[in-house]
Structures are given as structure tokens and as C-alpha cells.
């Protein structure tokens, strides 16, 4: 990593329309949070792609490790009974 005069990195999340989740769209460098917000607006919403923006310091994000994914997500693998299709319901029974 550079030691660096480089501005820190922020991840950008945008809510495209009211009622939708914020979704990750990319990142920006900025000196501080306010500048990150303005850069995110200029970079990711030039065509009205959003009604709300979150910016988060990239270094504050804690991510799962893809190398451990098998073990990490293993507990859910043998629980097919969590899905509605696991249960055979007779055709005669409606609206279930």
C-alpha cells in the first residue's frame, strides 16, 4: 500500500428509487466524507441514477474471506427443510 498523500478510498452505495435498497456501485477517492459524497454524486448519478447515496470508508468494511467460503457457509448446506418446496402438499389443498 502507498504511504501516501493519496486520499482514502470510499465505497459508494446508491438507492436508485424510493422503495429500493442501497446497492454498491463502485468507489471514489476523497479527502473527507463530504468530498466523497460530492464525488459519488458527480461520478455515479450524472443521469439521475439515484435518490440517496451512502459512502463508507473502504477500510471500515469487514468482508468474509472467499478462501473460507466453503466452511463458512457450510451450516446452511444441509437444511433443505428451510425451503417451502421441501414439503409435498397434496394437490387438493389450495392456497398453501
Amino acid at each position: 500500500m502507498s504511504n501516501s498523500r493519496e486520499w482514502p478510498l470510499f465505497e459508494v452505495f446508491i438507492r436508485a428509487r424510493g422503495g429500493l435498497d442501497h446497492k454498491h456501485v463502485g468507489s471514489v477517492h476523497a479527502a473527507d466524507a463530504r468530498m466523497a459524497m460530492e464525488h459519488a454524486r458527480d461520478l455515479y448519478t450524472r443521469r439521475q441514477e439515484g435518490v440517496s447515496i451512502w459512502v463508507v470508508r473502504s477500510s471500515d468494511i469487514i468482508a468474509s474471506d472467499p478462501a473460507d467460503a466453503d466452511a463458512f457457509f457450510e451450516p446452511a448446506r444441509d437444511k433443505v427443510y428451510r425451503h417451502p418446496t421441501f414439503y409435498a402438499i397434496p394437490d387438493e389443498v389450495k392456497t398453501l
Binding site: 501516501s4 450524472r46 468482508a63 472467499p66
Partner: protein
């Protein structure tokens, strides 16, 4: 150890063959990482340098509407550069390194931007032909194996279509104008036709990176395939304008010369970038100092 690497490489290729996307924290061969850093940063640099030939025309565009449109297009190019730098950084290089490589002349960018834009018709020809060729190259990249690159390309392709259409719109207006305007349009077409065809890279037989990039699904069609498709799409558009398709063959010695730094504007472009970077230095430093001051103030208030 090497056995282990071999197994990892095999699994990596299997994931690619299964059309899975590779993400930043996934294991990848060093050569895949290096290839992507080279290709993506060249792509980012091209967007940034691509602002220059058009930026020259913002103050001279013939109407207020054309000025506003051109400004929006140039802003998009800057944005595309930023998306691509961001995606390249996920591979473990810093923005500073990438910019340093561009400014020092160590990095390459698309040769097309080393040609001059002497008339307003050149701006039309760039949007129509250069952005058109770029779209042809970029659409397959939306399905490239590296996730951040593919996602950046989706965003870019959505925006490029406006660029190509506004270029054709300029050409259309000139082609429907006076004799002198039609002549200007034809001359711009003559200037940009060959360089646009060269944008697809050397002929397949001479393309040294192609086979491996195909295997890694960074590249999905050959240079010659894409070039042929571009010609097929573009020739009817030339005819509609009532202009003439330039006759002849691609001069590959010109391609190599421009690539080697001997094009009409290579020096000028990099100097313009360096100057802009230098002139912006005090702004960056002031913003950094301001951010530090605000942080100190908050700390003091908290204590």
C-alpha cells in the same frame, strides 16, 4: 509448492470455463492479475487522454446546445476513466501509481487520441467512429471474467451510446448542409476511418496477447472479427450520410509509429495531462489540509 500452484491454476481455469466471475479477493494467477492491470489501466488512461482532443472544442462548438452536449460527453469520459481506475485498484495497485505511469509516459493508451481535431466535423467523426469502435470492443467486455471490470464496462457501455449518436447527429447536420460543410464531413471521415479501424488492434496473426486472453475470457472475439463487424455496421451509415467510404488498406506501419510515440500529438497529449495535474496540485493539497484540520477540530471537541 508448485504442485499446489498447479492445482490452484487448474481450479481457477475451471471456474472461468464455467463462466464464473473472478472477484478481487479470489485467488488468481499472477499473470492474470498483471494482464488485467495492464489492460484495464491502459483502458482508463485512454478515457482520460480521450478528453483532450474533444476538450479542445468545447469553447469553439458552434452553438450553446453543442457546447453543453460536448461538455457532458467529456465529463462522461472522465467518469469512465474513474470507474476503470477504481476497478484496476481492486487488483492491488494504487491510483497514484497508475497516474504516475501515465504522466511519466511509461503506460500506453489508445493510439487514436494522438490524432488532431482540426475541424468541428472531427468531433462528429470521433463520436460516431471512435466511440462506435470503442463500443464494439467494449460490449464483449461486459461479460469479461473479472467482475469489477465487467461491472464497470456495463456502466460505460450504457453511457457510450449517447456519445456515438451525438457524433452521428453532428455528421448528419453537416451532410445536410452546404457544399463546404459536406466537404468538411467527408474530410473528417477520411481522417478518422483508418485510425478507427486500427482501434481493434493488429491483425489476429500478429496479436501477441490474444490466445491467453481468450482462454481467460478477458477477450471474447478476435481483433479481425470485431473490425469486420464494425465495417459491416458502419458502411451503411456512411452511405446514408451521402459520403464516400475511403478506399485502400490499413497502413500498419502508421499504427506501429503512433504506438511507439511518433503520432501527430503524442507529446502534446501527455504534456497537457502533466500540466493539468500540476495545476491541480494546490487544490488537492488544500483539500487534504482542510480534511486534516477538520479531523483535528473534531478530536479536540470530543476530548
Amino acid at each position: 509448492m508448485s504442485m499446489q500452484i498447479e492445482a490452484l491454476e487448474e481450479r481457477f481455469q475451471a471456474r472461468i470455463d464455467a463462466d464464473e466471475r473472478i472477484e478481487p479477493k479470489d485467488w488468481m494467477p499472477d499473470s492474470y492479475r498483471r494482464t488485467l492491470i495492464r489492460q484495464m489501466s491502459q483502458h482508463a488512461h485512454s478515457e482520460i487522454v480521450g478528453m483532450l482532443p474533444e476538450g479542445n472544442w468545447i469553447t469553439r462548438a458552434p452553438t450553446l446546445k453543442r457546447k453543453a452536449i460536448l461538455m457532458a460527453k467529456v465529463q462522461d469520459e472522465g467518469g469512465h476513466g474513474a470507474y476503470l481506475y477504481g476497478a484496476t485498484e481492486t487488483l492491488g495497485v494504487t491510483r497514484e501509481q497508475l497516474i504516475e505511469e501515465l504522466l511519466s509516459g511509461a503506460a500506453k493508451y489508445s493510439s487514436i487520441f494522438n490524432y488532431p481535431t482540426p475541424t468541428w466535423a472531427d468531433i462528429g467523426a470521433i463520436g460516431w467512429l471512435v466511440d462506435g469502435a470503442a463500443i464494439m470492443n467494449q460490449i464483449p467486455l461486459c461479460r469479461c471474467s473479472y467482475g469489477p471490470y465487467a461491472r464497470a464496462m456495463v456502466r460505460i457501455c450504457k453511457e457510450e451510446s449517447f456519445h456515438q449518436r451525438q457524433g452521428y447527429d453532428i455528421m448528419l447536420q453537416l451532410a445536410r448542409g452546404l457544399d463546404a460543410q459536406r466537404r468538411m464531413a467527408q474530410e473528417a471521415l477520411d481522417r478518422w476511418w483508418w485510425p478507427a479501424l486500427m482501434m481493434f488492434g493488429p491483425p489476429d496473426a500478429d496479436s501477441k496477447h490474444s490466445a491467453q486472453s481468450m482462454r481467460w475470457k478477458i477477450k471474447r472475439f478476435s481483433n479481425d472479427e470485431l473490425r469486420a463487424r464494425f465495417i459491416e455496421f458502419t458502411v451503411p451509415q456512411v452511405r446514408y450520410l451521402g459520403l464516400t467510404v475511403p478506399q485502400g488498406e490499413i497502413d500498419w506501419s502508421e499504427f506501429r509509429d503512433v504506438l511507439a510515440g511518433h503520432g501527430p500529438c503524442n507529446r502534446e497529449r501527455i504534456e497537457a495531462r502533466r500540466r493539468a495535474h500540476e495545476q491541480g496540485r494546490w487544490v488537492r493539497e488544500a483539500a487534504t489540509a482542510y480534511a486534516a484540520k477538520q479531523r483535528d477540530r473534531e478530536l479536540k471537541e470530543a476530548s
